[in-house]
């Protein structure tokens, strides 16, 4: 597989074409806009935290295939998770997209059962300039979590 085909895996292209949770949810506990001023990509993330669990999460906005698919897959990955699990997942995800596979693998293998296919973004590591695309929605999500559930 060429690195282009690895970057633009079928799963990523599919989420780009048909993003999940691409809507605005009712009664969010936080809404955060994630912006990349360098390229103009903009996503808005809505999140509803119920107790320590993410009851619902959604997004709208525009950006490249990597940022849009990442936002979509993030929403499916963290919905129903606890806030702490979601934060931990972001850390793993950052390791995946920056090529620190070994550090990430233990965590991701563990997480894969519940998370699915975030490792599809491992191809991003070969395109360092696109890491910010893959993590844009995640950063916004973390900010939304922080304002929903202040860290102790």
């Amino acid at each position: 597989m060429s690195d282009l085909d690895e970057l633009y895996q079928t799963l990523i292209l599919e989420h780009n074409r048909r993003p999940r949770n691409f809507r605005q949810i009712e009664q969010p506990t936080a809404e955060v806009e994630g912006r990349n001023p360098m390229c103009g990509d903009t996503f808005k993330i809505w999140i509803r935290v119920d107790g320590d669990r993410i009851a619902d999460v959604s997004f709208l906005g525009q950006g490249c295939a990597i940022s849009k698919a990442s936002a979509s897959m993030m929403t499916t990955a963290i919905k129903g998770k606890t806030v702490e699990e979601a934060r931990a997942l972001f850390t793993r995800f950052q390791q995946v997209v920056t090529g620190r596979r070994e550090a990430a693998e233990a965590g991701l293998n563990q997480a894969r059962e519940v998370v699915g296919c975030l490792s599809a973004f491992a191809g991003v590591a070969a395109f360092p300039v696109r890491v910010k695309c893959a993590t844009l929605a995640w950063h916004a999500m973390r900010t939304a979590l922080d304002s929903s559930v202040p860290t102790p």
């Binding site: 282009l4 633009y8 292209l13 390229c39 903009t42 525009q62 950006g63 990597i66 695309c133």
Partner: protein
């Protein structure tokens, strides 16, 4: 000013392509032999910065190897040589832009720095509460934000002129909008996104009739069009030598002598004073008044070499050749299913913006890069124009006289490859 236009070439050897000495032009630019991701580099990001010919690289090297010294500060031989070379470039730049005197040429750090200087110094001098600065929706952010800053400080307002249905700057709207409160009109000579060339001479007439000065952002035009500030009738003209085959980090500002004389310094420091006390200082005359601190002497000497390089070209032939490339690219992009070329006015530079249906420009850019084709993707620091065009971003291919028809082929093949990867 007269602008050469070329019609779309039907084959890869149009009337200009066959005349242009492409092999010897390319031989001047060592970087063009580089491979990118295993493919020969196709450099189509010239509106962002051009590559540098050997002549410029040699001048930079010669200064740092044999001539490095500060200017206007020493009695030693090296400093005198550096000062003489530095001032010789000022004269060469004055001739290049058609200024009446080298006193009208200020060395800056680039177009952005030049526009900030004019907005900060001249804007600070003339703008008051309720006054207006007129700009257009075609502007690069560097011809918007400095005016926003200056207007906020003064309690003034920045207003934008739109485009006509034929994608030209709407001069009727300019005539309707301009008033006695308009102190400054700041317009790009040409769009960095779609290449539209604005009728600067006519705009100068409108501005002057209303008592305003005209500031021209020439970052895009100076690399392609012969510039004569007297013919253009502008009061200020700024450009970026790094887009004109010269080094990064230097810029040119032309300002009419009478205006520069009235303007306060923008930055204070060494080299721009007459007399300094602890509590106050007096400033020297322009242009030195606007050149505080140690300038990038080597880069300015490199700029001199870039001007020499441009002067050695038949610039109208170069433009006709570049336009043949860009017009061919436009025609071939428009043949591709799902590709939309952003509209521009009739007179334009060899700059092409386009979008590909269902594929974000960043993704097109990433695929092109994998095939060695360097383009710019994004909003191009022109968000008002993106809004006008109704797209968040575009892919931009911008041409230089060292590009070839084969490279147009590579661009088209790369776009088709993006469509394959995305199943579009």
């Amino acid at each position: 000013m007269p602008v050469a236009t070329a019609t779309a070439a039907q084959s890869s050897t149009g009337p200009n392509a066959s005349r242009w000495p492409i092999e010897s032009v390319r031989a001047e630019f060592p970087i063009l032999t580089r491979s990118i991701n295993g493919q020969p580099l196709v450099y189509l990001d010239n509106a962002s910065t051009t590559q540098k010919p050997l002549k410029v690289l040699d001048a930079l090297n010669e200064f740092y190897v044999h001539g490095a010294a500060n200017v206007h500060r020493g009695v030693h031989t090296l400093s005198q040589e550096a000062s003489a070379a530095y001032e010789a470039v000022r004269q060469r730049a004055a001739d290049f832009l058609g200024a009446e005197s080298s006193d009208e040429i200020v060395f800056t750090a680039g177009t952005t720095a030049g526009l900030n200087l004019v907005a900060g110094s001249y804007g600070g001098l003339v703008l008051g509460p309720g006054d207006e600065v007129l700009v257009s929706v075609l502007e690069h952010h560097s011809n918007l934000v400095p005016w926003h800053v200056a207007a906020t400080r003064a309690g003034a307002v920045v207003r934008g002129i739109g485009l006509t249905s034929s994608h030209e700057l709407d001069l009727d709207e300019l005539r309707r909008t301009i008033s006695k409160r308009t102190k400054i009109v700041a317009i790009g000579h040409a769009s960095n996104v779609v290449g539209t060339i604005n009728p600067v001479r006519e705009i100068a007439g409108i501005a002057h009739a209303a008592g305003a000065v005209l500031v021209v952002d020439g970052a895009q035009s100076a690399p392609h069009l012969p510039i004569d500030v007297r013919t253009l009738g502008c009061d200020f003209f700024v450009c970026s030598p790094h887009k004109m085959y010269g080094p990064m980090g230097v810029g040119l500002l032309f300002g009419k002598a009478a205006l520069l004389e009235r303007m306060p310094p923008f930055m204070g420091g060494g080299g721009m004073i007459e007399r300094v006390g602890v509590a106050s200082s007096t400033y020297t005359r322009p242009p030195a008044r606007f050149e505080a601190g140690t300038p990038p002497v080597g880069e300015i000497i490199g700029l001199g070499a870039a001007i020499e390089y441009l002067a050695g070209q038949n610039r109208l032939d170069a433009l006709a050749y570049e336009l043949e490339l860009s017009e061919t690219a436009i025609a071939r992009l428009e043949e591709l299913r799902g590709v939309a070329v952003a509209p521009a006015g009739a007179d334009r530079l060899p700059v092409v913006s386009f979008t590909v249906e269902a594929i974000h420009p960043h993704d097109v850019g990433t695929v092109l890069d994998r095939f060695g084709v360097a383009v710019r993707v994004g909003h191009h620091c022109a968000q008002p124009l993106m809004e006008h065009l109704g797209v968040p971003a575009t892919v931009r291919a911008s041409f230089a006289p060292y590009n070839t028809m084969e490279e147009v082929d590579r661009l088209i093949a790369g776009v088709r490859e993006a469509q394959r990867v995305f199943g579009a």
